[in-house]
Amino acid sequence: MIATAIQQLLNAAQLGAVYALIALGYTMVYGTIRLINFAHGDIFMLGGFVGFLLVSVIPGLPVAVMIPLAMFITAMIGVMIERVAYRKLRNAQRMSLVITALGVGIFLENLVRILVGPQARQIPAQLPNKVLKLGGGVVITEDKILVILISLALMVILWVFVNRTLIGTAMRAVADNRDAVQLMGVNLNLIIATTFAVGSALAAAGGIFFGQAYSIDPYMGIDLGWKAFIAAVIGGIGSIEGAVIGSFLLAGVEVLTVAYLSSNLKNGIAFGLLIILLLIRPNGIMGRAELKKV
């Protein structure tokens, strides 16, 4: 009994880590320009496929080269998307930007489907993926541990980047008051481009790990993207540590529902609990209520 419970907690941790990989990118873009980037799940997918293509085209490419290269390529694509599709709408009403993001997402899904094919793929495992037995029948694989550690590491790096560096400070300033920041002589375009580059690079790293531990297909970004978005909101959207907490919480609720209630009702119960949570804390776990001026 206890062994199963521990196993389920480990399962929740790995699922939560996957959500966190995407939720971090969501929350970062949101934190800077208040955009719910619905294309982010698809950039996650794209990053996975960039990694997959790199490995297929250049066999034997070491993973230490492949991952940074894929992150760089995806970051450039992210910056390009922002430049072409989002920049012009930066000062428009928020919702037109959201719809544009939806359009970009649909475009990416179908682009990958046509170019690479609709089948699910697995990126050949170059990372350690041995099974570790923890006793009492409890097991975990090395790649899952890696995913958990990486999502936590990324959270820390991102937190330091946003809170302790000059450009991070500029990002937070952009979030607070875009006009004032420009008056202070900050290059707004550069800051926002950096946000997208970092967010997309994170997504690419996530996509590649995901493609090794699970599999990637052109439409996977939709469901995962929504889940990650929900996780980011529960944590308090815009908050980096909130995104991670929200991800682990969502995964925990899902896994425990499957384990102790009914897998049929996984989505129903998970969302029911989340709604209750949001009613108790209407701004998410780590979110701050925004003060409104009359």
């Binding site: 649909i106 475009f107 929900i230």
Partner: protein, 333 residues
């Protein structure tokens, strides 16, 4: 203002347009039935009508009230299933069956909408988006698990009650009600809340109550669309009402323009016609290009949003669809 005065007196007024719409729909349906009108176009017109109801009703919440609700397809599901059950399980003559089943769908979706709204409007902004999305998923998940409702297999062999005429009548009535609501004192309150909720509260608006009114009405009309859909398609499955459907509705809504009922019509028509046009043109040019349809349509969507950031109509109306009094004032188109 001269132009406007003349407009007000011409034949181009809402009542006449409404009557003409229903007459034309009846004629087209008749011609379609006897094989003189392409049934494919008839089908597209019917789908457009149902989608106008969906999109225009969501416009109340997302456009006029300025919230970001993501669960419209869930209320459509409630309406569709209730209407389908009434049509399937209660033996009724066809003439009674349709109105009764639609009414059932409207009431059920409205009640659920009211209850969801009670909970939802304790939050605002993106948190509200998540809660509505959550309810959408819960509704779909619940239907999937109820064997009486067919589970994931859905309900088949629903009697065919909907055709272009019924859709036209329902669309016109929906549009008329929504238009008058937007023009009423409640419409002003919604706009006031959208622009500044706190100011609204200070001048004595019961914000939550007024918000929930919009939400309930929107949900009820989504239920109407669902009831029409179920009895047109004769088959429903929970997956037809998941967040992909909500996304479709949102795209049409924002394409047409928020806070504009005429925009909702335009958005639905433009999007539906665009998708079918791509299907036909690409297939005609070369069959291997047909694959590009789902690639080109999002590009066009992005392009339109980039050039017209408030959607095609954003906050403007077609003058001849406004109430007479406003028409005389010139509207703002």
């Amino acid at each position: 203002m001269n132009m406007a005065d003349q407009q007000g007196k011409t034949l181009v007024r809402f009542r006449n347009i409404a009557i003409a719409t229903i007459l034309v729909a009846t004629l087209v349906q008749f011609l379609g039935n006897v094989g003189l009108f392409n049934n494919y176009y008839l089908h597209i017109l019917t789908v457009i009508g149902i989608n106008i109801i969906l999109v225009a009703s969501l416009n109340l919440v997302n456009g006029y009230l300025g919230e970001f609700a993501l669960g419209h397809a869930g209320f459509m599901a409630v309406g569709a299933y209730v209407a389908a059950l009434i049509a399937l399980k209660i033996p009724l003559p066809a003439l009674v069956r349709l109105p009764l089943s639609l009414l059932g769908g409207v009431v059920a979706a409205g009640v659920i909408g009211y209850l969801v709204g009670r909970v939802t409007f304790k939050t605002v902004g993106d948190y509200l988006a998540i809660i509505t999305l959550g309810f959408n998923m819960i509704i779909v998940n619940a239907i999937q698990n109820i064997d009486y409702l067919g589970g994931p297999r859905g309900l088949t062999a629903i009697p065919k009650g909907t055709n272009l005429v019924t859709v036209a009548v329902c669309t016109v009535i929906t549009y008329w009600i929504l238009r008058n609501l937007v023009d009423s004192v409640y419409g002003r309150m919604w706009l006031c809340i959208r622009e500044n909720a706190i100011a609204g509260e200070l001048i004595g608006i019961d914000v939550n109550k007024v918000k929930n009114l919009a939400f309930t009405i929107a949900a009820a009309f989504a239920g109407l669309a669902g009831g029409l859909y179920a009895q047109y398609q004769q088959f429903i499955t929970p997956k037809s009402f998941d967040y992909l459907k909500t996304t479709d509705i949102l795209v049409m809504l924002y394409l047409g323009g928020m806070g504009s009922l005429s925009g909702s019509i335009l958005g639905v028509v433009a999007y539906t016609v665009l998708m079918e046009l791509l299907r036909n043109v690409l297939g005609m040019v070369a069959p291997q290009l047909a694959d590009l349809r789902m690639l080109i349509s999002p590009l066009i969507l992005v392009l339109i949003m980039l050039t017209r950031q408030y959607g095609l109509m954003g906050n403007r109306e077609w003058r001849w669809l406004l109430p007479d009094r406003k028409q005389a004032e010139g509207g703002d188109a």
